[in-house]
Symmetry: D2
Subunit: 396 residues, 4 copies
């Protein structure tokens, strides 16, 4: 089979040489991330249940989870949640197959509780959340699709990916990871963080928002001290990634004199005012990068069988990484894959690869190698699906 | 005041010279667009009510509208809606001010009904929709913000914009507009359309999805004929914008022999299986463009006073247009504006302008002029706010 | 067939000779009555649709409608509704039959809107209510039942009825009816009324609660005058039914000096604080009578095919009326009918008739006649079902 | 103070001498009972919290809890719940007092979980229920009421009570209690039971519905055997209460041959098709008795301060018991208490006491004693309120 793969040379100044870069990452306890996490964990749980019962994944898309903020009264030493966080698990899934009913809602609730435990360790799930489940049934046309051997694309849409990550991107990503580790020493750190990185030439500004947990903070003085500890730790930690100048700040909107600080009972702003939705947060590489190609598609919660909005975004990310790693002379690679509704997913309408080359690179050779690598991935697209089942690919 | 505005030259191949381009537009009746439209129309109605009652816009963000698909049974000549479309108007708004209660829900419902009438002319709002309103109150900290003269940014986030539109972008955008006009002659055209444009070098492929309205289609033959009429019309219409080769297709997933076609009762896929959410569809320029800088921020429904996620995205779009128009030697311009929570919105953390220049351009002159134009817009940022109140800026 | 019908003589002082009597009627716009009305009108609409499509009534019970109060700001001359009244149409109904889908929700919403128009003429349905529909599917076991010739009882439960109405009962019932007529002259009268009658020997006290409609009341003085007009009218009107002394009062909780009066925008207290539920209001004779046998069963919204909670209550009411009318020597008659789940509905577990006789009556004759009349009704129980379909039997 | 207390002699055949009697009790796991239990336990928890924080009970009414049935797939040895039971905790409560916010929803959820544990021991609350809380705020007028010394009646309504219980009533009541005890030996007995007693002269028919729990039943043969064991036990147990003939039956709608039996996963029919609502089940004496005076008022969940619908029903029950116990010559006593909105609750509009006397009784003496006892209760009405706070009075 001849696939429509295009490799194009891009005469573009590499990201590190551009003057300005903006990068953001929402932590795993951010309401949008939690929504993504719930959606994806439910899809994964359904996949496993379908496989166990029927040997095949049945149609579902659970990508509409909503988190409606609660109301809380945090206070140093420990406050209280006034109104619980309302979590609506929704979407569509096959509920009956070959006469057997699948307990879709029960599975979803079980998966949701587990995800919440992992993502928000200080949340009292039983009393501070309402977990509602309203998962409907899909349209019959779509359900047909799954009978075919290689599934057909469910829609006309596209996926994008690029590699490698820039220095600033790595720093932003790793800062969030490091805060989670630091939490073991400083339990006041909530999982709801947001790291915004701005690079101007060789100066990187990190603005961190971190929901502090009230029961681990005894006073305003304690709070101020903890902020300093965190900032200092992050400044030291991030210096390993760059020779650029880094300036880190945390909870910049605090007004210490007025006592207006970023304090929470549960470690997430969802307890007070901040809603969350699927697909509003990090892309599949864990980042939001307005200066790089991005897809708007919500990948979390979509079925990994025929939903090209999910499959092609993950494929583009994975393939771009591989290509950047394996082809030495590539400086940067950008991939876009376009589907057309009804076509087998291993034959995209078009797969476009743009490469920024290092000096002296042989474009003809790069072209051949990149095309081949891409073709391999498409040939074995079921690998991507299996990586999703096994939870090996992050979606946020 | 000295604002942090950076102008940078970008050595990048202009979009028209790149080999591949992907562009998408969701029509005004697409579930995601309807969600955006509802969110924005409610915010606008609230702004007007607040201004009328108190002479000032009060805090609100109504950017969480959800559309949960119904269930229908379309059939040639006219079918029926089985389960109505559930529309949840949600978000937060000031409900009491100076002892006066504002009928927030009633205002929201009124605005929503009007938007639905405009966007989905064949929808029987009374019987085919459930309009639910659950608009809460915001957190008090945020409400304080509005007392200050120039409002402070509500968050650390960014806006992006670029200009001018490429040929393919114009074609995709205008195709959707033209379908709405064509609807007057061919009433079977539903407002829920999706236009996907892919350009490979000098060949443009338009894939249109269009929800056809059953009562205006008498039979499968009629349906096939209407599709041909539409495709032919669009092919002729779009040829004015380009000398490139255009190929248009419509409803490519149809299986005419099996009678499986894209037929609806109401003109929107929300009647059957397709949910909608705010911020999942078109960006402020009306397009989704993975090869161009994009913000993930949902702009619709956010308050135009201090929500930088809205203001900076609209500002970046408007300013980039102006800069591209007024500075002759600019081929392409890309703008990114970053806020920091708590800073006045007219003093962004950074405003970055990247320019691709025409041959022979004087970068120093461009730099001065672009900076000046940007500075003017920031100086007069209340203009953007007023344009939003008056509904002069589209958000989707 | 020999049915288990028992006739028993009751040596009891007739109600008119008892010293104290308590009687209540909730008007058609009272939140509980509106809930009953919605439930019943939806059931009736479904019956008609099922009959039209399939020639038979299919399983359904729509007896769970909920009315959640809104929030309003009434004021003389016309106030506003702040939060709409939330109306949840719920229950269960057959949604698919012989492969055909029935648009259950659409039918329910249509019926609900019509009932609201009839019951609350000043309610702006489009803007002051949220009509939500969540009608599920019944259990399959119950659905089977409908195939049999004479349906089997869906449950073990009972119905009760009595006749004739006492003087006080008639007065309370008719007072509510008269207020609706008076509304044509005094449009300020809302349909949400509650009439409480207490008789102590020969003195009857009528306490009326009436939601006044603000746009038809110009001032507090106007309000006071209207109350006087209404009370005077009712005093005159009710005197026709009795030679006893009647004292009528209206809106006794008003505090005129403080301006705290019973004013509404829409004519129902559901706009502000008062929820409504099915089965909480009037019994099938239109009254609440704690001194008389009553069933707790909600009759509104239940299916008229096999739901004995509905059928037996209506049958007991109708049969007791007939028996009281046709058998001269009966002073009072009380009927109780008990079903057993699974038995044909025309063969109740027991039908008990208690009679209070006039002096000189022949109990043996009464026994024979009453048993015969009861037997006839059971023999022709489908008549009751048809009267329900045709809307000839009130349930509240 | 002279209260309006009337004592009247009733020349009525005592219940035991009437030919027919109908009595019903819904078990504590019946959906209607669970709804009552939830409503009441939430009110009690709020009372305690208000008392602890402010030394006074604040306004609330949590009498609108809804239980929407789930969907299950029971099977011998253990089946599964497909859709969870949806439980909506609703009503109104004071959420802010003297500037302090009360975590009303959190309290309600905590109380609800405890009640479910107590009432349905085999229900997996975390995975088989959705506990939603939407508790609003009351109207301000009502909130004022609580400032006065003796609260004023919130409405014009009435309470009723009678004593003593008849033999059949005792049997029905105790049968349900005994089933709960028997559950320790026969764990297959679910808490969702319904006991219907019909007495015809000297023959009592008990029809029991009992939700059997699938994991404790290995097969259809086991099921049949368990039913026999239960029936035999109940037959023996009930014989202590009467010399009349008792016939007990259980799950009469079972069709053993078809395998259609009353099996559940959780021990309640709420898992499959049976909804529950407050105020639809047992009266304050734990029974439904159509041949006795009954109030339709839902007592569970109402505030014990000024809600006469609750207070007067409990008072009428308690006072009638006391009067029947203390005044020897009374055979039966019936009490009705009527409030008028705005009057202090210790001064009802009227308290009517009807007595059926034993032969040779002295009516004048009875009249004096009964009036005195009633007057004492009204004088010390706060006792009733305290008994409610302490959970000493059952409401269902």
């Amino acid at each position: 089979m001849k696939r429509n793969i295009k490799v194009e040379r891009l005469n573009q100044r590499p990201i590190e040489l551009q003057e300005i870069e903006l990068v953001e990452r929402k932590g795993i306890g951010h309401p949008d991330s939690v929504a993504d996490g719930l959606a994806e964990s439910i899809s994964r749980a359904l996949c496993q249940e379908y496989l166990k019962r029927f040997g095949a994944v049945l149609h579902h898309n659970t990508d509409k989870t909503q988190i409606v903020a609660g109301r809380s009264n945090p206070s140093f030493g420990g406050g209280e949640v006034i109104c619980p966080i309302y979590i609506l698990l929704t979407g569509r899934a096959t509920r009956i197959f070959k006469g057997e009913e699948i307990p879709v809602d029960t599975i979803a609730i079980r998966a949701a509780r587990r995800l919440l435990e992992e993502s928000l360790s200080n949340l009292d799930i039983n009393h501070h959340t309402i977990i509602d489940a309203k998962i409907g049934m899909g349209s019959s046309d779509l359900r047909d699709v799954f009978g075919r051997k290689v599934p057909s694309a469910n829609d006309t849409s596209f996926g994008v990916g690029y590699a490698p990550l820039s220095e600033t991107e790595q720093i932003v990503y790793n800062t969030e990871r490091e805060l989670l580790k630091l939490k073991k020493k400083i339990p006041a750190i909530g999982e709801d963080t947001k790291v915004m990185g701005m690079r101007e030439r060789d100066s990187i500004n990190l603005t961190i928002a971190c929901a502090m947990i009230d029961k681990y903070v005894s006073s305003i003085e304690d709070y101020v001290q903890l902020k300093e500890d965190i900032v200092q730790h992050i400044a030291e930690y991030t210096s390993q990634f760059t020779s650029r100048k880094i300036k880190a700040q945390i909870n910049v909107a605090d007004d210490i004199e007025k006592g207006s600080v970023y304090l929470t009972v549960t470690g997430t702003s969802a307890e007070m005012g901040d809603d969350g939705a699927v697909g509003r947060g990090n892309r599949t590489n864990g980042l939001i990068t307005p200066g790089r190609p991005m897809s708007l598609e919500a990948t979390s919660g979509k079925n990994p069988i025929n939903h090209v909005g999910k499959i092609y975004n993950l494929l583009a990310m994975v393939a771009s990484k591989k290509i950047a790693e394996e082809i030495d002379s590539i400086e940067e690679v950008y991939i876009r894959i376009l589907s057309q509704i009804g076509r087998p997913i291993d034959e995209p309408h078009m797969a476009g690869i743009q490469v920024v080359l290092k000096e002296g690179a042989d474009m003809v050779k790069v072209q051949t190698e990149a095309e081949e690598l891409m073709n391999d991935w498409l040939e074995n697209i079921s690998q991507i699906q299996e990586m999703i089942f096994r939870g090996e690919l992050n979606t946020y």
